[in-house]
């Protein structure tokens, strides 16, 4: 039977809010819906082109009939989305293709389908059940949702907290093999002590966001879907990454405090939003322009967050000076980046020009924020020093 499906739409008002680089919890829901369509189409392609996945096809279809929302949430989880892209690109890769069996078991587990077994093959002696956990024992065999327990079972843990009635729960995925998409070395399974330390920074970040930037907090609670830890380098620098194929996922070295954690989440989710928007409506025509627009889009949100922390009421202990200094510096970076990209840049599409005009409006409001002249001068000096170091 053939169906007719409408094309995805984004209202002009939704586009404009996303384009402004401000928090946009409503339009993020629209972006997530587009990711569900994308995930279902890719899954259809994979299942349709793989006769050996019939058992997985049956289980996934049943689970989706029982609880489509739960299965859709699984399918758009970041590292599973990345798997789907990798798998669909080359269906001859048996390892990637057979991972669909574990996806089916994850769907069954999420839908409470007890006793349903899938034959799963380990890779490197381990079987990943996406978003659920890792079965760290070798040998192929039948696995049911009830087997996902015991000493060989490493569940995916969540960073969960509530502040002023606002709840957030983000899986901290330190086991999924597809989380290592970015080439940077990923952190292996965190110890309980390490996990507690990360949870502490995360709680502090959530408190700051809820109190000082509630709309940004709402956006992250609705859109951020996975955080994966990266190994820290000897230089102690924060490194973080996102992938266009993994909407709502970010990888990062572990931030040292809540402020840093909040900045990483906001910055990386900006990249996710922009990638998802660009997948729907091309915004640029070249990679250098893409990189520059991403930079501007992320910096705009980071500058706005520092501005909000700078004026936080009641004043955060020690926050005022740090926030003022960082705000001035990021704003200086942003100005420099904007100089590199005029609104009429031929590398931008019509939608890209619209995006830049909205960002420009946000920048005008950031430009009005007053900063002591001495701190402004320090920011310019810091920018010059960093430019020199980078050249």
């Amino acid at each position: 039977m053939q169906g007719t499906h409408q094309a995805h739409r984004l209202l002009r008002s939704e586009f404009d809010l996303l384009a402004s680089a401000r928090a946009a919890p409503g339009p993020v829901r629209a972006l997530k819906r587009s990711r569900v369509s994308r995930a279902l189409l890719l899954l259809r392609y994979i299942l349709d082109g793989s006769p050996d996945l019939r058992p997985a096809t049956r289980l996934l279809s049943e689970a989706h009939d029982i609880n489509p929302a739960a299965v859709n949430a699984l399918l758009i989880s970041p590292w599973l989305s990345l798997w789907a892209a990798v798998c669909a690109r080359d269906l001859t890769q048996r390892r990637h293709r057979l991972a669909a069996n574990a996806v089916a078991l994850a769907a069954a587990a999420r839908c409470g389908m007890r006793g349903r077994a899938m034959v799963l093959e380990p890779y490197d002696g381990r079987i990943m059940i996406p978003t659920v956990g890792l079965l760290a024992r070798g040998g192929p065999g039948r696995v049911t949702a009830e087997d996902l327990d015991g000493p060989w079972w490493w569940p995916v843990r969540s960073l969960t907290c509530v502040h002023s009635g606002r709840r957030i729960a983000i899986p901290l995925d330190d086991v999924d093999p597809y989380r290592g998409f970015h080439g940077a070395p990923v952190q292996s399974r965190l110890t309980a002590v390490q996990f507690d330390a990360v949870s502490g920074s995360f709680r502090e970040a959530w408190r700051l966001l809820v109190e000082q930037c509630p709309r940004r907090a709402a956006e992250l609670a609705g859109g951020l879907m996975s955080i994966t830890p990266l190994l820290s380098g000897d230089d102690g620098e924060i490194r973080s990454a996102t992938s266009p194929e993994a909407f709502g996922g970010l990888a990062t070295t572990m931030p040292v405090d809540g402020v840093e954690f909040a900045m990483v989440m906001v910055r990386e989710f900006q990249h996710s939003k922009l990638s998802a928007l660009c997948a729907l409506a091309p915004l640029w025509r070249s990679k250098p322009v893409c990189a520059l627009v991403h930079r501007i889009y992320a910096l705009t949100a980071v500058a706005a967050l520092w501005r909000d922390l700078k004026t936080a009421e009641p004043a955060e202990v020690g926050m005022g000076e740090r926030a003022t200094r960082e705000f001035a510096f990021v704003r200086a970076q942003l100005r420099r980046a904007l100089e590199g990209l005029a609104q009429g840049d031929p590398g931008l599409t019509a939608a890209g020009r619209r995006l830049m005009s909205r960002i420009d409006q946000t920048m005008k409001s950031l430009a009005r924020v007053s900063v002591p002249a001495a701190i402004e001068a320090q920011a310019r000096e810091r920018l010059a020093t960093a430019s020199l170091a980078a050249s």
Binding site: M1, Q2, G3, T4, H5, A7, H8, R9, R12, F15, R33, S34, V36, S37, R38, L40, L41, L42, L43, R44, Y45, D48, L60, S61, H64, D65, P68, V71, A88, R89, E237, R239, S240, A241, S243, P244, E245, R267, H271, L280, A281, C290, A291, L292, H294, A298, L299, Q333, R336, A337, G340, A350, R353, R382, L383, A384, A386, S387, A390, S391
Partner: protein, 69 residues
């Protein structure tokens, strides 16, 4: 671009199947075949990393196209 010159965006070629059941989507449908095939063709090879930034202080002012943070 003026606000008047910018309409709601309709993303042709990317059907909204978010409310559909997987069991229905698996039925034969040349339109969905084409949509899925187009989507696969557009997938980046290999998966692209859109950021991967070091701390902002190290990237300040450098318009390195590989840096997007």
């Amino acid at each position: 671009m003026s606000a008047e010159g910018f309409a709601d965006l309709e993303f042709i070629g990317w059907p909204d199947v978010a409310s559909a059941r997987l069991s229905c989507l698996l039925n034969e449908d040349p339109n969905l075949d084409k949509a899925a095939q187009d989507l696969v063709t557009q997938l980046s090879e290999p998966p692209e990393v859109m950021s991967g930034c070091k701390e902002l202080t190290r990237r300040t002012g450098s318009f390195d196209p590989n840096s997007t943070c």
